[in-house]
Assembly symmetry: C2
Homo-oligomer: 515 residues x 2
């Protein structure tokens, strides 16, 4: 880091005060150096083999665990998140690194496909063609404000890009530079331990936009990942448009994660549903990508009971420190914008418990009729924080109009009794067009990190619904296929050699086999 850059400090959102330690915005010369180092490192790193790559990912996890309380305490000070939540997040972060270490070690993720030569084929012989995924090149990862560990410096994007064989340059989120620096140092120690080229990972700081823009536009950059606001994500796309070469830019921009409350479910378990939903709406001060910002329900007597219990729970929610002053101000503004609509009714609001703390969240619940919701597209905008809007239908037929009007979502949740799944099969059949994950009788918050997870949905939830940013298939954002035709077996990658020396699954004649 060149010390000539603009100085900035992290701020504790609970106190509004600056934390000690000075940080300096990186300079263009630093960004250029990181990019050149990444390009050089790529030539070595892409070929290091699966054993060394998985050892590297495990070494990062170990270094993070060694940081322990130092890391947790700094992250808590910079984010306002509770210690227990950050301990859980650190567990998830190291778990992700190990998940990708396992994936790389097993090796089948490269989707090797082999079509052997058919010299006797008529009218023309078939040549031998073998194809597998190779890393795409240097990746830029933007740190996310709401997951200082799991979606930031050594988070899922970094872990999956490194697993694919791509060098990573992280643009640290300016809200948690100290956390970012600790994690970056841990990665650099792992690089040293594993004897890898230093350019495999770099970190850059900037409390403005200059460095990010330079990285996104640079010809060495082959991919960009971002998790954050719609505005931030679209700004990145605008930057990327200034490139001559189109590259994949993955922006996960949030979503209102609708919850469809079918009438029998409400009738049979209003109290239980209300408790579930209150917890999901207010969890982590509502600062999750999968926070349920919208509910759809039918006007019934049971619904009144549901509303009552949910409202009580929302009103009694203890306030919590939000991630930053900007996020807190934005939450207040956006939730008030919704409430200013004449058609919207405020159902419940919590109170600030501790007036000495800054940036406290006030949980809010509001309702609106279907017709009014449909008439005002602004009511679909994400309110990042502990807020949810209940859309009330007079007839069950109106549910479909609401679903049709929605933009793409990360998740859609259905609360249904057994028979309702069949009764509303047509409605439910439409949901897969609108979301990446469909949840039944559970809350959308809490994203399992596993192979089958899909975290990414149709626009505007994310910019490319064909990929996920959570789970082991997140690695496919960073790889491209190469086919070798009639190639010498000795010089083929091990994954494609005859005899399958790595013992991985390979697709041969439509069969996945380890032969």
């Amino acid at each position: 880091m060149s010390a000539a850059g603009r100085m900035f400090k992290a701020i504790d959102p609970a106190t509004g005060l600056s934390l000690d330690e000075d940080f300096f915005s990186s300079q263009i010369v630093d960004a250029e150096e990181a990019l050149q180092n990444a390009a050089t490192a790529f030539q070595q790193y892409k070929n290091i083999g699966k054993a060394r790559k998985s050892a590297f990912l495990r070494a990062i996890a170990e270094e993070l665990i060694l940081l322990g309380d130092t890391l947790i305490n700094r992250a808590a000070a910079e984010s306002g998140l509770p210690i227990a939540r950050l301990q859980g997040e650190l567990g998830r972060t190291t778990g992700q690194l190990r998940l990708f270490a396992d994936l790389v070690e097993e090796g089948s993720w490269v989707n090797a496909i082999i079509d052997v030569a058919l010299p006797e084929r008529q009218p023309m012989a078939r040549v031998d063609i073998r194809r597998m995924l190779v890393p795409i090149g240097p990746v830029i990862v933007f740190g996310a404000s709401n997951f200082p560990l799991a979606f930031s410096v050594a988070g899922g994007d970094t872990a999956s890009a490194l697993a694919a064989g791509c060098p990573v340059i992280v643009k640290a989120h300016p809200a948690h530079p100290g956390t970012s620096k600790l994690v970056a140092e841990a990665i650099h120690r792992a690089i040293a331990t594993c004897g890898l080229p230093r350019g495999v990972f770099s970190i850059l700081y900037d409390d403005g936009y200059e460095i990010g823009a330079y990285l996104v536009k640079h010809h060495i950059t082959k991919c960009v990942t971002f998790t954050g606001s719609f505005k931030g994500g679209m700004a990145l796309h605008q930057m990327a448009l200034q490139r001559r070469e189109p590259i994949p830019v993955f922006t996960e921009m949030g979503s209102i994660n609708p919850v469809i409350l079918l009438p029998k479910a409400v009738e049979n378990r209003a109290d239980e549903l209300a408790a579930q939903m209150a917890a999901s709406v207010t969890m982590g001060a509502g600062q999750f990508c999968t926070n349920p910002g919208l509910m759809i329900a039918l006007q019934t007597e049971s619904l009144s009971n549901y509303i009552q219990v949910l409202s009580d729970a929302i009103a009694q929610t203890p306030s919590a420190t939000m991630l930053s002053a900007g996020i807190c101000a934005n939450y207040k503004q956006l939730s008030e914008n919704v409430l200013q609509s004449a058609a919207v009714t405020l159902l419940a609001e919590s109170e600030i418990a501790d007036q000495d703390k800054s940036n406290q969240s006030v949980a809010r619940l509001a309702s609106v009729k279907v017709a009014d919701f449909l008439a005002d597209p602004k009511l679909q905008e994400e309110v990042f924080g502990p807020f949810s809007l209940l859309v009330i239908a007079d007839h069950i037929d109106q549910f479909e109009a609401v679903i049709d009007a929605l933009g793409g979502q990360l998740t859609i949740t259905v609360m249904a009794d057994n028979q309702e799944m069949t009764d509303y099969a047509a409605l439910l059949g439409k949901l897969s067009d609108k979301a990446g994950r469909l949840v039944l009788n559970a809350v959308p918050t809490g994203v399992e990190v596993c192979a089958a997870m899909q975290h990414g949905g149709p626009f505007p939830a994310s910019s490319d619904s064909r990929f996920t940013s959570v789970g082991s298939t997140a690695i496919y954002r960073f790889a491209r296929p190469v086919a070798w035709q009639g190639w010498d077996d000795k010089l083929l990658p091990d994954e494609l050699k005859s005899g399958n020396p790595l013992g991985i699954f390979r697709l041969m004649d439509q069969n996945w086999t380890k032969d």
Copy 2:
């Protein structure tokens, strides 16, 4: 088709004369209707199941075969391509449709991944999550001039999009509207036979750009495919940038497909290599995406022999009708631009055999020294036609500089003797960064349509190197994953149901299994 549009006719490139039959550019109202029909049809088509989908693809193939000579003769008149070549292309086209029918029928292409619930897991139970690919939505396919059958109305893009479950709207290439109409009618008959909604497939005509632009910018459109020139492909990207919602736009924009001639190979088989390369450069009047427009060789005595034999073969190549007057004029202009460079030497040029025919190709071979090639980026531009530039190195070390200077390619070919693969392993190891397919001791023309094929490379060869436009994995351009969490087994797609009723491969705990 609304008859109010601008009238245009197809032109026989061999005569320069108009063919009978009037065509009319579609109107915006036609495009809007096709899009609305596609959106409606999608809701039904995405759920029709694999048996009906594969039957539909086979029915299209059968309808095309029934057209027989009518189709071949019209395509020959509109493209100037020889009958035998078009018969082969029809075989490839029906073969592609059947390849995708087989893929869909087998069913494992959806990449089902199942993570079952782990209720006992600590510290938290794991929920049941099941994920598979679903179709992305309506796809726009632009017909290609150089493959009136295999890359156009019922070509690989249409076949793979329909196989994925996406409705297709084809913007017919204006050079072969009659061929396009015949094929579109065949698809419509297959739709009727199979009882599918008509909006599953539409065709639109335009000899200008208005309809294409409208289709690309429309919110119903979820994906675009194009095979053609760099200029045309980048114009499509510009149109797509005007969308609010980013969508995948696959443009395969050509490439110069470098051939690396290693010295021992030239020494040991100069005559054979020269014959191979002459045939590959001039095949189909050089109008293939994988035409080898660049060769790199070391200045040796054997190379003089190679040049002599290759030059003789090029000079004796019979002229052929190029696809259109525009392509022929462009070829002349671009090849002459290269030859006007003071550093470039013309080595051989063929003659026009039949002066009565228009738009005849003149095969050309030229050479340039490495230093001069590196000094002039224009020499890397694709010359679409029977042209190749031999880049001559004084030292073998210069090969790497040439490779480094190249943009992304569809293919790179290496002509090497056995020992040379080992001797030049470092050089050859760089090639996978630059191309989608690496060919050893064979020519790049002739693209096998199989599971392991990769047709698409780093920019500018194509706009997204992570996908292919040829081979069965081309289907992945048109699909996105959806995860069902805790979903009712009865209402899950069959691909994800417990007990695996479809008997497909599914990934469970890193194992591909049919259990």
